[in-house]
Amino acid sequence: MAVPFPRSEWNGHENPEHIGVRGRSFVTSLLRMNNTNSMINDQAQPKPNAEVLREMDDEALITTFQSGDLDVYRFLVERYQERIRNLLFSIFHDRDFIDDLAQEVFIKAYQALPHFRFEASFYTWLYRIAVNKSRDELRKKKARRFFSFQTLDDGIEKELNVRLSVSPENRDTQELVAMGLQTLPEKFRTAVVLKDIEGLSYEEIAKVMQCQLGTVKSRISRARAMLRKALKPLMEEVQS
């Protein structure tokens, strides 16, 4: 089991030599940022210390980024990587490709950040990118399934029913809930994940999913109704 890494030890444990040749220069330059000596370059004004940057709020970091210091993007990634990974994990429940997908989300955000207008908070904006990305990914999955003549959804529902039918003491409740989520259509799944797992407000979800507040409310209630139906035995057990 991996342990969260103490931030002060970044440099000691990440050796650029372990990274592919192509990435080395970029990574080296980024890692050098923690070294206070190299922070002073030709610019008249010395760059702020990495610790100072780490404490800066999103808006200040984005302003710095937009003024040309692209290296500060690292702190935004560090701040939100786990949230985005968990969001994607809740939507897909598939450990294998979450990191790749999260990476794509952050690359997309990196490309779009110069045009960020501070109209929404950064994390709402980032969630929107992640939600759009996951929607694209689900569509791709659907297309692949269509061409491979598989019916994966049916598979999940069948397996869920099989697992629900075993005796209560042998059930893995968390696993069952995650599987129940997988049976929901994409927009309902995303809405309920954002509300109940990520803890966003209705208004924030409307911004992330780019729809009306009423739509969000109805999606969440529909999603909960569907989940209640799918996990009926579990519900009854909890009830008793």
Binding site: M1, G20, S25, F26, A102, I107, R224, A225, M235
Partner: protein, 428 residues
């Protein structure tokens, strides 16, 4: 109805557990809760579900995320610098595919090499024969050969005739007013060639079987006439029958002559709809002769006098050509004639008549003008009597109001040769 009610309740309770209801709505739900056991159960389930979802396990933090991300970013940047028309990662697959295609094509070519060799040697043999055996050398060749019914109809109605189906080069005769004609051979014709097929003509005009036969033979005659009207020869020479522009007007007259009044109206409609340069009007039809179509048809003009254009001079003179024998020769050596004709036309189009001397005074009454962009020659042409018999069907140019440039005089034929195209203005 029940389902709708259920959905409404779902929505209400779902918002209730989120605390998103107004005070009034919340009270409504509370009273429902107080009186209905099933609603209580429903709410409890929803609350449980919310708790279950909130307690979903989180992923273990990924400490190497930034490092991997940095590498991915670098790759992304590399990809942006990629000049290949496809993502860099496909490079191995695509190079394998290209190799495979090259191998397959190469194998096929090697296996069938005899056929290729034969094909190319036949082609080059044909060209060699043209020059070695001096087939058709020195003879004037018709610019158009094998003018079929469709092409003859095309020419009759619109005065345009493409060299062949693919070619952009076309012959165009244009009767701009009753006084002036223009013959153009060029590839920058302003009007795109229109087309009315013979089938369409038949379906719109509805000629009887007898009329159809006559029109068929008229078109055949026209085709022959076109074949003998524009000739090209070695050393950039060209001969054009000056009465060619009359031919299409005559053909429209002929077709109109053998039609019945109602059909003629249809024919006129067809001409108008396709913006043809002629319009048909009827002067008078003598009674009692309606059935005899052939009597109404005027004669084709026959002339052995041609406007001959060479790089050095231009003249209007008689040439004696045995067209039957020429046609037979061309038909026997069609491929050879094609090759020769193409070469000759290319030469004419490329540098044709650039070397015509300027300001030459002919000893004959002919006059020669030259301008910045064209050469023009006036040649006195003995005016032929149009048709002795009174025409009953009159075909007139549609664009009457278009006037001619002032330098063009009456009673003379003016020929203009532009540097890029070869065109002749003839003003009788």
């Amino acid at each position: 109805m029940k389902k709708m009610k259920e959905q409404k309740l779902d929505a209400l309770l779902s918002q209730y557990i989120d605390g998103a209801l107004s005070e009034k709505e919340a009270q409504q739900v509370e009273s429902l809760l107080a009186e209905d056991e099933s609603v209580r159960k429903h709410v409890a389930e929803l609350k449980n579900l919310k708790i279950l979802l909130a307690s979903q396990p989180k992923l273990n933090p990924n400490i190497g995320f930034w490092t991997r991300f940095a590498v991915a970013m670098e790759e992304q940047k590399e990809e942006e610098r990629n000049l290949l028309p496809f993502p860099r990662k496909f490079l191995p697959a695509i190079s394998i595919m290209v190799t495979a295609v090259v191998v397959v094509v190469g194998t096929l070519v090697i296996q069938n090499r005899m056929q290729f060799v034969q094909f190319f040697s036949e082609k080059s043999q044909a060209v060699k024969e043209v020059y070695k055996n001096k087939i058709l050398q020195g003879s004037l060749l018709p610019l158009f050969s094998k003018v079929d019914k469709e092409r003859a109809l095309q020419f009759s109605l619109f005065g345009t005739l493409q060299l062949d189906d693919k070619s952009e080069t076309a012959l165009r005769v244009d009767e701009q007013s009753e006084k002036g004609y223009r013959i153009e051979v060029g590839n920058n014709l302003k009007n795109k060639t229109k087309s009315v097929t013979f089938d369409r003509f038949v379906s719109e005009v509805k000629p009887s079987a007898k009329q159809k036969k006559i029109i068929d033979s008229l078109l055949d005659l026209t085709g022959r006439r076109i074949e003998t009207s524009v000739l090209i020869g070695e050393n950039n020479t060209m001969a054009i029958a000056p009465d060619l522009p009359k031919l299409n007007r005559l053909m429209v007259t002929n077709i109109a002559s053998c039609l019945e009044p109602l059909q003629r109206v249809n024919f006129e409609r067809l001409l108008e709809a396709n913006n043809a340069p002629y319009t048909v009007t009827v002067r008078s039809v003598p009674a009692g002769k309606a059935g005899n179509y052939f009597q109404r048809i005027p004669k084709f003009p026959q002339s052995d006098r041609f406007v001959i254009i060479t790089p050095d001079t231009m003249m209007y003179s008689q040439i004696h050509i045995n067209f039957d024998s020429l046609r037979r020769q061309v038909e026997e050596n069609f491929a050879v004639a094609e090759v020769r004709r193409e070469a000759m036309l290319k030469k004419i189009m490329a540098k044709g008549f650039q070397r015509i001397p300027r300001n030459v005074q002919f000893s004959t009454p002919d006059q020669f003008f030259s301008g910045e962009e064209f050469f023009s020659v006036e040649i006195n042409v003995p005016s032929e009597e149009d048709n002795q018999q009174p025409m009953r069907v009159v075909v007139q140019p549609r664009f009457r109001k278009q006037f001619l440039p002032p330098e063009i005089r009456n009673h003379s034929t003016q020929m203009r040769i532009w540097k890029d195209t070869t065109s002749i203005n003839i003003v009788p």
